[in-house]
Point group: C2
Chain length 378, copies 2
């Protein structure tokens, strides 16, 4: 990628390799910025999927500020990369407070749904901004907006000398149950309603509740309005994937992530190809199986320029480092010789990305214009 | 882990963390060495799962020699670590030959099931030892032992000035279909029979066939004999897992790998706990679902000393960085306060290990005696 060298091409990459189409990525980021503006909320991009400084830089509304992460390791990575105003969106526990406190200069906000943890935060020697996590129906984490603990936690933190009670946060973890626009709109309204209800109860108890945070790609795309919410935290929109395309949350051409792989075997009697990708690079995700009539196996197989090769060409079976590629009709073996590069669109961008330590970036051609490292670990 | 510091404890680890019980690991390795001796074959440990120099060192029969790997990156890693006599067990393709050739000093053997690839190997400027890959019924890769291509490939390589035809190799990829001892014995016999048949046909054609390689943990454990085979390449035996325990290939106490996680939420109305592990650390594997009456969810949850906590305690639902822990009976919430450490036995050790970049090693206590790095990438 240096000027005095030949440009790296897709064909130069060891396979499997995780590839980003930069043009699609940037379009996804700009579309969500416009969407947040239209909804009248702040966009706080969730970096648990991208885990990459280069994408955060393109995604944020204000340089170096305002992201969500899921783990302490991600918070540390982005703080190191110069980010501040970072919300860590998994329930804090007392034994992690010292590590979180070391990020205080970056302005880290933590969340909890437990009065016991709120007490531990209040008693800790360092300053924390804290949100209460609300369960809006997804039953991943959080307490119900009507529960007594909502006020109890807000009071504990509001009364603490160093902690700051900052507001409420929720995530529609049940958005994967949606299939139609109407269903997603209803889930988005549940998400908004739950957290706005909680915020109103807290305000009603005389405690200031400045942050009212919702967020998932599905609800950010479909919400009719976000009245009462102050921010949204979508994450998957940066890449999109076959599941989201299958349920109408994006167009197939909005999928910015693909796995580059090579044909390593021909099995004409089975009408299948073998490729050098498997569980370790593609993930076991079968998310599109749950879309009626929309099952895409372990991923849709396209050519190296993301054009269709044959109708219904999919990853049909997965081994550790091998996968079967099969189709509805006889395969064009002669135009897919051993060594041919293919690109696989993933069912779930998050689950495929998590198998990788870097992205290779292209922009509409076979030139690899950058390699972006992906933070891992906890 | 330095002498002048306090010993690192499990409680000091960031969670989730992948933990090896060294005593169990070593027992698994010794058991398989004895098993290979009893079967009269060489043990060539498959390092595609462990991907760790420290485990290879404990697993090999002869220091620094004789392992199997699945990818070029693994071959390079182990060559760098001083290993020679490395078999790369995924079909070679022409565009990877230059990279493989750079490992010639380490004595790398490649495999193919394609006459076209055999021609490319024969025409390449570097020396390669080559095995023909046989399909023994698993239909992952390979050609059938009775196919004309077996002899064709052997002849191409035998007649090449620089390549060496080294023999035949197979893997019973269908061993996951087995449930009973009798079924595994039958699969092991299929695996052995296929590759011995191919070797006999090649010998009958006047071509020397010194290597007759079989291998998987299931077949190595259950084969009645391996007459005619020269080596076995099991891999999962180093760790074992719930699937293997569920079908009788190991005892539950032989599982050497577990995921350390912490309780981060209590949801009494749902009778569930939330822990700080998810898809990114545990994997989506649901392998035990396929064992009648043996479904272990996404993994069995034990205490930090690998002792049972409550009957049927399992990972019941998985999110990206969260998981539900549920049980058949009311959970003992009060003895599992937020922050409590748990250890999860995985359904499939390979699929869980692949989510991690290192192992933390303990040996029957909570002292972390080593951190072993795990090679990744391709």
């Amino acid at each position: 990628m240096e000027d005095n060298k030949r440009m790296t091409k897709l064909a130069d990459l060891a396979t499997p390799a995780l590839v980003i189409e930069r043009g699609r990525l940037v379009a996804n980021l700009e579309r969500m910025k416009a969407r947040a503006r239209a909804l009248g909320v702040r966009l706080r991009p969730h970096m648990k999927i991208a885990k990459t400084a280069e994408i955060a830089e393109l995604a944020v509304e204000e340089k170096g500020r305002g992201i969500a992460v899921q783990t302490l390791a991600e918070a540390e990575f982005f703080a190191q990369a110069g980010y501040s105003d970072i919300t860590i969106c998994a329930g804090m526990i007392p034994s992690k407070l010292d590590r979180a406190a070391r990020l205080a200069d970056a302005g880290v906000t933590v969340i909890t749904d437990s009065p016991d943890v709120a007490q531990a935060i209040a008693a800790h020697g360092d300053r924390f901004e804290v949100l209460v996590e609300i369960d809006c129906g997804g039953h991943r984490a959080g307490i119900f907006p009507e529960s007594t603990e909502v006020i109890e936690i807000a009071k504990i933190l509001d009364g603490a000398p160093r902690a700051t009670f900052a507001g409420v946060l929720t995530n529609a973890a049940h958005c994967y149950q949606g299939r139609t626009r109407a269903e997603f709109e209803a889930i988005a309204e549940q998400e908004r309603g739950a957290v706005v209800d909680a915020a109103e109860r807290i305000s009603g108890a005389g405690i200031s509740c400045p942050v009212v945070s919702v967020g998932s790609t599905a609800t950010a795309v479909t919400a009719k309005h976000l009245d009462g919410a102050t921010e949204t935290r979508p994450g998957l929109y940066v890449f999109n994937d076959l599941f989201r395309a299958g349920v109408g949350l994006c167009a197939p051409d909005d999928i910015a992530l693909s796995l580059l792989s090579r044909v390593i075997g021909h099995y004409r009697s089975d009408n299948r190809l073998l490729i050098d990708a498997g569980v370790t690079s593609l993930s076991l995700d079968r998310g599109t199986e749950r879309i009626e009539g929309g099952d895409q196996g372990f991923g849709v197989v396209l050519d190296e320029d993301l054009r269709p090769i044959a109708p219904g060409l999919k990853v049909a079976r997965l081994h550790t480092e091998h996968a079967w590629v099969a189709a509805d009709e006889p395969l064009p073996f002669d135009s897919l010789p051993i060594g041919t590069m293919v690109r696989i669109l993933p069912n779930h961008a998050n689950n495929t990305a998590t198998m990788h330590r870097h992205y290779d970036v292209v922009d509409g051609t076979s030139d690899v214009i950058a390699r972006w490292s992906r933070q891992g670990g906890w």
